[in-house]
Symmetry: C2
Subunit: 213 residues, 2 copies
């Protein structure tokens, strides 16, 4: 029943780029930011439906596997679903393809509620105009005793961290400097107190940092 | 003849706190920021003249040893010498005690030049109102073929990084969030290109990151 976060950030702390366009939905920096994850065997299988067994194994893949384990429901911001780029398209079904990797109920925080969308593979997107506490309550209610993941982006994650609602924060730090975007760490002074912090480095150069209660 | 930097920063990228006072010259956050270094056997011996052999060994101490090896001259900002807190005291001899740990010529960048100060143990402080390039030229000239270290603070280090003058940047990241201070990483987009980046974690939780040409 833990509340978990997994995010990738750059060395200078940017979790999301701000150069998104409809043509380049996550921005030009996104491939470098998430490259080590995208290269893993688990990510390729789960997100891209690549069943050839291609992809890296090792530390990055261990974290990618853990990302998908024991999650019973997810909460994400409108940007992570892709609403910001297509706010007025009622038929928009998200960035994640017709069979999204979540395979559980996903609550998308948005000020403009819309009907739920059931996708292949067990993912249902629900749209909520609610506080972070209320969204978490609804996620727990359907998670069948499993964990709830706060999926991102950084603004939503920061809200949950500031509210003291996160049990386990895993941050994968890519060894690059973006110099622009939305910062994860802003205004989180002293976050480490109350957590045990562990750091581990992967062959890709990615630093995996875990804050655990 | 390499130009080297060693800095400690927090997870959110702050290398210097901004709460310094004459009573608490490095700010209240400083002990947490540099705690892992201060605890090492090498730092205790070199900075505090503790010859009992006390202090940690291991990864942090390896980096602390390397910090002092093969440095023939150092360049630092006025704040690191302590000028910002006592700008009008002509007798101010710096934060570093009567036998500073540098044991080489140290060039302090300041707009108000003052006479050089020779200290015990081989350290001489010179005060320069000069560009970063000119300060580096003067440091190389007296380094006797050894490395030049850019000692800090973050503003001076950033100037050298942006000018492309740093061959080896070692950053020790403390697993804490300060939420305030002066950031090292601002405006350094793409710094990693041209460097090989290596990350290593110490028992203290410190992440040692090295950018090497």
């Amino acid at each position: 029943m833990a509340v978990r976060v997994d995010l990738m950030i750059s060395l200078d702390g940017f979790a999301t780029t701000t150069d998104q366009t409809p043509e380049v939905p996550f921005g030009e920096d996104w491939p470098r930011l998430v490259g080590a994850y995208v290269a893993t065997r688990t990510f390729r299988e789960r997100v891209f439906h690549d069943t050839t067994g291609a992809g890296t194994t090792g530390v990055d893949d261990d974290y990618a596997k853990a990302y998908f384990e024991d999650v019973g429901a997810e909460v994400m911001g409108a940007g992570m679903f892709g609403l910001h780029n297509f706010p007025d398209d009622p038929n928009w079904r998200g960035w994640w393809g017709e069979e999204p990797p979540f395979r559980c109920p996903v609550f998308v925080l948005t000020h403009a509620a819309r009907p739920s969308i059931a996708m292949a593979g067990g993912t249902t997107f629900h749209f909520l105009n609610a506080s972070v506490e209320e969204a978490l309550r609804q996620a727990h209610a359907v998670a069948q005793g499993r964990d709830v993941r706060i999926g991102g982006g950084p603004t939503v994650v920061r809200s949950y961290l500031k509210a003291g609602l996160v049990d386990c924060l895993h941050v994968a730090i890519a060894p690059i400097l973006l110099g622009r975007g939305i910062r994860l760490w802003d205004d989180l002074r002293g976050l480490e107190s109350g957590y045990t912090v562990k750091a581990e480095t992967a062959q890709s150069g990615t630093i995996h940092l875990t804050f655990r209660r």
